[in-house]
Amino acid sequence: MTAFTFFHAADLHLDTPFRGLTAVADAHPEVVRAVTTATFDAFDRLVADAVRERPAFVVIAGDVFDSAERSVRAQLRFRDGLARMAAAGVPSYVVHGNHDPAEGGPAVAWPAGVHVFGWEDAEAVSVVRDGEPLAVLAGVSHRRRAESRRLHRKLAPPAGPRGVLRVAVLHCNVGSDTGHEPYAPCELADLVGAGFDYWALGHVHERAVLHEDPWVVYPGNFQGRSIREAGPRGYVRVSVAGGRPVSVAFSATDAVRWMRQAVDVAGLPTIDAVDRAVADAVDRAAAAADGRPAIVRVELRGRGPVAADLARPEALADLTERARDAGAALEPFVWVERLVSACRPEVDLDARRRALDLLGQVLRVAQDLRSDPDALAAAWAELHDHPALRRDLAVPRREDAVAVLAEAELLCVELLERDG
């Protein structure tokens, strides 16, 4: 049997915006350009790799674009990319996911050499190269956005000659705690026992190899779009020998890399020193981005004398602006998404909490609130109950709320000790 390679990608989300960028504006056109074209640039990298390396085929497991965005250019760019691969002799196999369900599907026609699996029943197609059958692919698409069917049950390995790779292509949620919507739900055991050699999955944005032999793989998304999607993003190359996958290797495509950088403020005596440390963090981000632009969240941590200064919102704003200017001037640029402070002052809060004075009372009240999420929610009800914000402003999760509480506590310390 011929050894070969195929590419497995998912969750391209072409032409969808980056989240959490508060200050990207016309002052930095190169940043705007990079973030608005990043998903396209990432897809172009996959296409370029495929045209250059001629894998046996490319599998794209759903969420190519967001139907809600109605981006024609995304559909056209996708179509053109598939056409370029097809012209280079690389066929592609695509399923629809929850973001680009089959109903209300694309306005463009797929080029020859592209197979898009339908939603009603599973289809099976063979990949034949030079007269030799290499693989059999089975796949099924999401019909609509909230796909509740257990689609994996529709997929059964088709009968075929021995030694031919059997691939299942599916956009689904394996398990229950993935942090993603539970569309097309299934359990790992269902997939492992289904008789396929390789489950080419999509939906979960973090790259994960859930099982080997048979392989159950999420390649992760193509391009990080928020700080929650930090780190390299791309697709996987699956090497096949004797009709079975032998290795799965990651290949980065992200055109702009999201990352976090921590700065420990311990031992930093002044805001000036923090400023320098933040500049260093920006430089580190630039070095770690493998030559591509980067968007970085800088997190100030630790205990230090500057914590009280950093509790002032304007101090963080000034530092952020300076770091942004420095990063935007780099080539390629490093955009500081946000500068957040989780530093603690050098005061002993527990000792303060025991004091009988007003500050001690404040800290004791805060301590009580830690275990009273309802009281926290009540403090914020005015904002979250606002009709215009109900949809856009999520009530903080418990751990986030506790973090806010810690910040509020520090703020109280700062305010009550301001002239005391």
Binding site: D15, T16, P17, F18, R19, G20, L21, T22, A23, V24, A25, V32, V35, T36, T37, E69, R70, S71, V72, R73, L76, A107, P313, R338, A355, L356, D357, L358, L359, G360, Q361, V362, R364, V365, A366, L369, L376, A379, W380, E382, L383, H386, A388, L389, D392, L393, P396, V404, L405, E407, A408, E409, L411, C412, L415, L416, E417, R418, D419, G420
Partner: protein, 1039 residues
Amino acid sequence: MRIRALHIDGFGLFRDVTVTGLPPGLVVLLGDNEAGKSTCLGFVRAVLFGFPDGRTGENRYEPLAGGRHGGSLTVESASGEVFVVHRGPGPRGGSLDVRFADGSPAGADELERLLGGATRELYRTVFAFGLDELQQLGSLQGDAVAGAVYAASAGAGARALVAAEKWLAQATTDRFRKGGQKPAINRLIRQLRDVRAELRNARDELDAYAGLGDELAGIEDRLDELRRRREALGAALARAETDAALWGPWQELCRLRAELGRVDAPERFPDRGVERLEVLRERRAQLDGRLVRLDRDRDRANRRLGELDGDDGVLAQAEAVRWLVERRQGYLEAVRARDEAARRARDADRSLDGELGRLGPGWDEPRVARVEGTVPARAAVHRHREVAAAARARHGRAVEEAERLASELAEVEADRAAVKDRTAALRDALAEAGERVRHLERAAAEVRRRTALDAERAALAAAPDPPAVPAWVPLVVAAAGLAVGGALWPSAGPGTAGGAAGALVLVAVAVWWGGRRAGRDGSFRGRRRAELEDQIRVCDEAALAALAAAREDAAGTDGVERLLAEAASRLDRVKEELVRTGQQGDDLARRARLLLARREEAEAEAARAAQALEAARGGWHRWLAEAGLPGDLEPEDVPAVLDGIDGCRRFLDERQRFLDEASARDGEVAEYRRRMADCLRALGRPVPAGADPPDLVAGLAGELERARARAVERAGLEKRLAELDAERGEVTADLAAADAELDGLLAEAGADTPDALLALHRRWDDRRKLADRVSAAAEQVLALAAGTDLSGVGARLAALGPVDADGLRARVAALRDELDRVDADRSRLEQERGRLLARREQLAGSDGVARLRLEEERVLALLEEEAAAWRRYALARRLLVLARERFEQDQQPAVVRRAAGFLRTFTAGAYDGIVAPLGSRSIEVLAPDGRRKAPAALSRGTAEQLYLAVRFGYIGNHGDRGEPLPVVMDDVLVNFDPTRARNAVRAVLELARSHQVLFFTCHPATVDLFRAQEPAVPVYAVGSGGIRPAGGERPGLNP
């Protein structure tokens, strides 16, 4: 502390009022309006804390009934100490006097201690107050009270609390306010709405993309239909156009075909017969022409050959002639060089003769040849010259040395003579100096004796001296004489000087003598003095004589010692010089001996040098003889002779060299002439004598060149003749062939002659042209018919029925119009399609939505950021509120706690507690249901009860920490309802257990209230300018 007694000197309407025995605890003082209750209150305040400042406007209670303003209080501390505090008006609260009970002064500090740091203001508002103070919250907001009531134990945080709450309120409302416009989140909500509206618009536009597809498909369908319609019309038009086009040519074809059928002419004719005939005729004419030209060329060539005869013998000598020509320049050069060498040989010969002549007679070539090389001779001459010069120099040096030594010796001898003279002079000077010293020594001895005599005479000087010539006169004269002598000595000589000095000395002696005679008539002392005078005179004379001998007459006796020293010194110097001169003479003698010896040595050396010089000259003459040179030559002359010999030799060599050269060149010339003669002889020509060989050679060369040219041309002509013969043969053969071909052509055409052939051709050609026109017409028809053969065309046109050309053209025009209309429709639709495609392209490539989505996300991110900040601030605010509530409930100051107890008592539990909100100078009451009420929300009575409770709380608290101060209240219960008044009385009684309470009232009912609860309560009546304990059930105004 309690007040035991008071004495008012003058205060308001009171004058000289004394109250004693005031008990501890409660004392009720009852008086009518204007009886002086407030005055009493003011008196206690004034004595304890000072008179109010006149500028405040507060009542100072000036004495209305007379008496000194002020008075005293007798107070007792909790520990039993008794003080009398007296105060009168004055600056800074008035004049204070504090004394112990025994009248001894105690000082203001004792009062300060008793008052426990309470200020006048605190006392006025909290301890000694009337209804006016009670009704004002402001009276409880002074620093001292507020510090105790509102901020105690809240710690540092409480002070910043209000600012913190204010800051947080601002921070939260800056970010979000329900129904607000400006706060950041409210603004972001609007921005979000705007950007989403834009997004909806943009997306609606994108939805048009699918609609555009449908529209495009419709246009494509219509275009397809038009395309088909156009194709049909095109086909019809093409057919009609073909028919129209075919009509004319077809008619012409039919006419030509008929005409061809009528023509009479041969159908066949030799292919290109006429052309071939013309070609043959032309060929033949050309061949004839060529034959004529060939014959003419042959004649010309033969004629030229005949002209080319001549003597070509010179060709056999071509090599020899070439050699002569090549060497001709060399021959001329050799002749010139030979002649030049001979001339220079002669020049050298002449020069040699001249050189020999310069050497002098007796010099000829053989003698010159005999002189061996001049180089060794020159070396020998140089050697001899050096030897001679050295010998001469040595002799010169020796002679010069001898002369120098002789001169030096002469100088030394002269010096020796001078030394000798000097020695003699010194010896004379020595003798003279010795003599002088002896004379001066003698004079010195006399002078010393005279000095002794002078001393004795001085002893006798008691008696007045008779007038006499003073002794110093002669001495002066004598000294002058000596001085003149001394002065004249060096210039005028000893004679003159001595004469002058002597004369003066004689004068002196005469004077002295006159003086002596005058003194001879003295007494004994006078005698003795006379004796002394004599002796002195003798001494002086002797001294002067000695001085004269020393030729120091003028010096006088005073300078004798000095002169002696000088003379001795001079004697020593002369002696020393004499010794030195003697040594000098010895040195010179030694030197003279030495010089003499050296002069002799130099003279011997001069003699030896003269001998060496002579030897050198002998050597020179011997060498001249050996060298074959004249013996009278000096070394200086020899180089010139040698130069002459060298010149002769050079000219000899030169002459020989030129003679050799001339001889060699002469050989070359002879060889050239020999070979030229050989050549001429070979050609059988005479060898001319005296002819210039180069000219002969030039003639031979020209001859050779011409002979060669003739040979070449002859060969060329012979070759050309052969070629012409060959060509002539060819032309003759070609002529025969052309004739044969012409005969063949005529036979083929069936003509006898070329003219007949041409006539036949004309008839055949006319027929052929007609047939060609038929073919052309048919081809035109076939071309237009596009694939249909002629019969088909005929059938097609026949099928059109009765029609003419105009009818056909009209049909074509109609079809064309129709086609144009279709094209116009197509163009319009294609434009529309292009527009739609461009629009779709634009939609496809637009990143407007992407940018709006980015903007939406940006606004959302900002919203989240602002919300996070708001949450933080809101939560912090909440923390402060909750902490404050708890603090205010759980950690109230003791004052407030106590006050709350009193309030509960006053209101019988209607109000449960008092809250002093942190960070503010206000108080609130707490209803049992937990609601808080600000004082403004309370009834007047309840508010007064609240304030009274706070005062009681404070008073109690103050008392716990120090001396309890007496409390003075002026009718504070008037607004209390009976129940609460009772409750208040209970509270007052409770307070009176720890404090002295002076309770003023104008209401007997109030007294009853107290008595109802405490029957033994002491009551005092205030009125009629006095204060007295009241008796009976109801206190009366006048006890």
